[in-house]
Symmetry: C2
Subunit: 209 residues, 2 copies
């Protein structure tokens, strides 16, 4: 039985359609009435685990799922020991530094040393500012990071930007990009090593568009 960890939310629909090419039908997870977290494929040889974005690498790293689909942003943030197999192309966004419009910063190095920066991705933010050799105080938030600069708690944010609408709606502008992100197919290293071709076949079917 092959188990695939799928992230709830924005990546789910495209993830399901990519696995369909490999003959694995997980479309039940898209039913709005679905409350199951473990969804078997009708073919009987696979099942999907429906988990939060940030939990996909955990299930794959511990081998409870042999494969998983998750955003590169999560992989960068968590650094879990999983194999990166395929860049799936969808779920495109980027990690960026943003500040309040009109405060004059045009790049990250303009930020005052020891200023506060809010983020859900504090590991990504830390390594970015460490590389710039700019000391900042990171404030970890779990949602609505844009409130950081709006309330005056932080000078900047590091957050994912897809369309840029959230930034605009909140009077923020992007001043620097950390990296691009898309959905990735990841695998459990040991499961891939012991694979007798079954996983590889799925990976290949998903790889070729």
């Amino acid at each position: 039985m092959i188990t695939v960890a799928l992230a709830k939310g924005a990546l789910l629909k495209d993830s399901v359609s990519r696995f369909a090419r490999a003959g694995l039908d997980f479309s039940t997870v898209l039913d709005t009435g679905n409350r199951q977290l473990m969804v078997p494929s009708p073919c009987g040889r696979a099942r999907a685990l429906l988990v939060r974005n940030g939990d996909v690498p955990v299930y794959v790293a511990y081998g409870q799922a042999q494969l998983g689909v998750v955003g590169f942003d999560v992989l960068r943030e968590q650094q879990m020991p999983v194999a990166h197999l395929v860049d799936l192309g969808f779920g495109s966004c980027h990690m960026a530094v943003a500040v309040k419009e009109g405060n004059g910063y045009v790049r990250a190095t303009d930020l005052p040393p020891h200023c506060r920066v809010a983020s859900k991705f504090t590991n990504c933010a830390r390594s970015f500012f460490d590389e710039l050799d700019l000391p900042v105080e990171l404030v970890h938030l779990t949602g609505s990071v844009e409130l950081g600069p709006i309330t005056g708690m932080t000078e900047a944010i590091v957050d994912l930007v897809a369309t840029g609408r959230t930034l605009r709606d909140n009077g923020l502008i992007e001043i620097e990009e950390l990296f691009q992100s898309t959905a990735r197919l990841v695998g459990n290293p040991l499961a891939l090593r012991l694979d007798r071709g079954e996983l590889q076949k799925i990976v290949e079917a998903i790889r070729f568009k």
Copy 2:
């Protein structure tokens, strides 16, 4: 201007009704169509910040909100420097250790040393198992913690239990309680120290039922 950090979700309705007693009307945050994160009170002397549960102590600790309402579970997990002012009584639940039904464990010390335990509250779980002197490997998950034992990834979970329905639905049983939790009114220590009576009046109005 007084700013109050309110947690989205289960505690919101009761939080709003307790502040109404103090003459602060934040009922706009309950409108299903509301998308604002900063909601002014019609009286003009206060506003609510609508944030995630886990972010309430952050806004209060940094002084962006002078008061906040959040579950004791979050306060225990995060240990942010905020003043605990009033036990509001609502939002009652408890933190518990749960295992798969039928695996024979009747208390936490029955768990095998170095077994895995999944939790969203890894700080609470760590201090609980440290006190028992039972070494366990904590697996941090962000949601659906019950999948840990179901998939066989972990032997137990540490999670919040309100009605117990989620545990029952997933074939899990509770074997030990860590602590009880209810909603708490918290405050920024410095704001309380500098208060000229305005915050105190609100706290008193909220305290007495």
